[in-house]
Symmetry: C2
Subunit: 170 residues, 2 copies
Amino acid sequence: MADGRSPQGISGENLLYLTDEQLRQGIEAMFFAYRGFTADPDRILADHCYGRAHHRAIHFINRAPGTTVNNLLRILGVTKQSLNRVLRTLVEDGLVESRIGAQDKRERHLYLTEAGAALESQLSDAQRARMRTAYREAGPEAVAGFRKVLEAMMDADMRRAYKRLKEQAG
Amino acid sequence: MADGRSPQGISGENLLYLTDEQLRQGIEAMFFAYRGFTADPDRILADHCYGRAHHRAIHFINRAPGTTVNNLLRILGVTKQSLNRVLRTLVEDGLVESRIGAQDKRERHLYLTEAGAALESQLSDAQRARMRTAYREAGPEAVAGFRKVLEAMMDADMRRAYKRLKEQAG
DNA sequence: TGTATACGTCAGCCTTGTTGACATTCCAAG
DNA sequence: CTTGGAATGTCAACAAGGCTGACGTATACA
């Protein structure tokens, strides 16, 4: 690895895209792209005195209405204290509704209110617009590859969560 | 857009990958993948009592040795106060050396020390390993598409910074 | 009845971002 | 030579959003 090549690059096949330099460019691309990815929602959120954490909660509540707190916790990968702080302000501000479960009354099922859905679609529109431009610029084959690599980059449990969401509404 | 299709999806061409649902899946893929992307370095950093901000500084100093603080500031997109705090601890801990500029003595040129380079390569190895696995799993065409979409997702100034780094050491 | 689960909450800590104010050093233009 | 502005560093204060630990309540279930 000290020669700037991955072990695979040395063995037989011509895997130039696996050189350390190519991998590093991929790493930097992820870094810079993620900044672009969050830039538009961040601006909107700032106007509403919210942060990225609120966006994430709103996004996944919209994606899976009626989801429980525990479920959301697993998807977001934060502690319940962190999530609760965000969730509490969203409920107080009337963007999220928390309903006690019908079967299991310990659970709280989360829903966006009308106001919550309005903010969600404002954020979502902005982020999709960026995505759409990038997708159109890159073309369908590139998009397929993009998603393939991203999926391969996820931790196993996140990949499961991702696929579950896809099937749910795909 | 209320019908779940992008405007482009309606006009003539069959651009199914631009439906709102497809775009949303891309958004979620970015979110989950970025978690995986940072997971390995984060674990290593925690052992050293550092955070992601230290990683970013170390990465780009390694990438462009002798870079100035201002240059780093632009690349990282944070305030000088934020960067300075991180940089100060790295200098105090002997991972980064800050040399006063030869031509312009106001500038500080940043270099990794041996210890800094050691941590950099530990972090880098871990992150590259994840990237390599993902790349190998997805294949060369997917990788090309991945990078194409990421580049298209960046803000203009970040795309310039990204390309400059690529040319520098590509 | 006792244990486990789901959720909320309080307190405190850390990292990492922000703004504002101010000092220093130095280049360059007048 | 002086002065304006750029590059850098530093102090202070603050906020978001992570974290841990501890504790309480309601519910479910064996």
